[in-house]
Amino acid sequence: MSIMIDARGKSCPIPVIMAKKEADQGGRDFTISVDNKTAVENLKRFGNNGGFDTVVVEKSRDDFSVRFLKSSVAEDSAGVGGRKETGVVSGVKSSWAVFIGNEGIGNGDLELGTTLMKMFFFTLTQGSDVPSYVLFMNEGVKVPVGSQQAIEHLKVLAERGTKVLVCGTCLNFYGLSDSLKVGIVSNMYDIAEAMLNVDKVITL
């Protein structure tokens, strides 16, 4: 939990001095509230110069918070890209594939599922470890056909070496053969071979 420091109503150098005091005491995760943009800029500059990530939230025109995170804390919470260990004992990254058999992630509300699908591919583009394959089958083929945002992310992954294979039989079944926006029209042989070639297959 971030330590909260209220510096609202304090004039010019005081908020930065309060931040410096906290940093000098070894603070690695603290949040300072201030009431003006100049103070926000000064705090950010102080933080970035001192090796902190800074996160600014503008709650209203005169209520801001600036969170300071020291790199190890930031790395712990930075997400896919900031992960230190891959979880593989040997230290060698394992190859992986993602199998998508539905338009949305999981079962349940379709609008929620398709939103989660967009967020999933966004998250993959932010990480350093991209999958060797993304495999689309059955209703999953609707993602590289119709989800504008997911298509953009899939293009980024493809540029970084991910092979996007889309089941041709499935495209044909849904009448979408001419509408594929990203990926290669593929078949069961290639898709099954891809699954056997990687160390793990993640099904969403």
């Binding site: 800074t54 939230v57 709650k59 930075a78 609008e111 966004f122």
Partner: protein, 78 residues
């Protein structure tokens, strides 16, 4: 690099703003709320710096409920 996220109390408001921005040709990316900003798996919209002020006006005009616009700056700059 500085990133701007619109934060929401629920996904309905997030999808509503995304739809409006798409209609009005603003670039917005549905993204999971970064862990620095929230512990829950919320949805947020990643927007471009040059659009922040206009989007703020759209949010007011369309009565979109948000938790504000957050900017994140990574050290060292990515």
């Amino acid at each position: 690099m500085k990133k701007y996220y619109v934060l929401f109390p629920n996904h309905i408001n997030g999808l509503k703003l995304n739809e409006i921005l798409r209609r009005e040709n603003y670039k917005a990316t549905i993204a999971p709320t970064p862990r620095e900003l929230s512990t829950s798996c919320g949805i947020s919209l990643l927007i471009r710096e040059e659009d922040v002020e206009n989007i703020r006006k759209i949010m007011e005009r369309e009565h979109i409920e948000t938790l504000g616009i957050a900017s994140i700056e990574k050290y060292p700059a990515l």
